[in-house]
Subunit: 204 residues, 2 copies
Amino acid sequence: MNSYSSKLVESAVNELARLPGIGRKTALRLVLYLLKKEDNFALSLGNSLIKMRNEIMFCNECFNISDSEVCEICANPNRTKDTICVVEDIRDVMAIENTGQYKGVYHILGGIISPMDGIGPNELHIDSLVDRVSQGNTQEVIMALSTTIEGDTTNFYIYKKLKDFEITISTIARGIAIGDELEYAVEVTLGRSILNRTLYENTL
Amino acid sequence: MNSYSSKLVESAVNELARLPGIGRKTALRLVLYLLKKEDNFALSLGNSLIKMRNEIMFCNECFNISDSEVCEICANPNRTKDTICVVEDIRDVMAIENTGQYKGVYHILGGIISPMDGIGPNELHIDSLVDRVSQGNTQEVIMALSTTIEGDTTNFYIYKKLKDFEITISTIARGIAIGDELEYAVEVTLGRSILNRTLYENTL
């Protein structure tokens, strides 16, 4: 007995349930919602996924997702091309862009070194970062990876690859988040925030 | 500034975020997952949604979703056609089918009467239920709707439409769930379970 009473529904549920965080019950709920809504929605959803997958490009420079060969950020003449911020994926680009505090360009690694997940340096866009820096137009590389073992490993690997170039290599500041209370801060964060203290006048 | 750096991604995120329970952050996570996976997945997901929406049919008899004009249940010669179980949507059909305890056919209302949501009797497949019963082949109609104000209203509305036919109108048993302890049961459920007690020999 096919418990979905429709192979079409069963196949749609199977496909949706392959998405992370979506189980078969949720998938069925979504499918029923699509069937209740006007025809248009399922079609435009399906088409936008297909179109995206077929037409998406990755920026030649920074590997940001893009609709053209060079992404909007790299193509923007107002961005400082001599500063490269290294991030794990495009969600980090979006988070940093939303702060409005960064005017340089990015380099998206596409992941971080994680032997447990079978991701080594060769799976990431590290060689292309070295290439970019070796062209000699870079002043500073800012490492903006997660503070995890994998992030630290990746930071160190990239640091070793870049340290012989005449550039500044920095990492984003680690410290007590704004609004957090000192007594609840994790010790290592608090320790780092004292070591890397900032001149008060720089925070004004 | 287009914060997604790609109109294709933005449009896919917008479409996914229209689904119930999926916000823009989750939608972006799904889109990035689709972009990381092999090309095939986004295409087969998109195509299965489109194909489902274009080709799905609703059973002429019971309004179950179906790949043909009459659903598998209605077309099955081993089902008792004189017993109709009235349910809200196809999830209820699946739940009842999974018990293996029901051998009759169904009638799917497509919702329940809910003035707050603008759903009146005319939005539901109630007239077609009356038509089915008026053909004279029905012995029993089993109401299997939720025990909510809306469910009770719908039950009563349908009861009034069907009470002049020579059929049995029943509702599924309400009572203490198997495995539940009496002391924690809601009073009205416990009260109903005493009023509608079952002969012990029928539970053997």
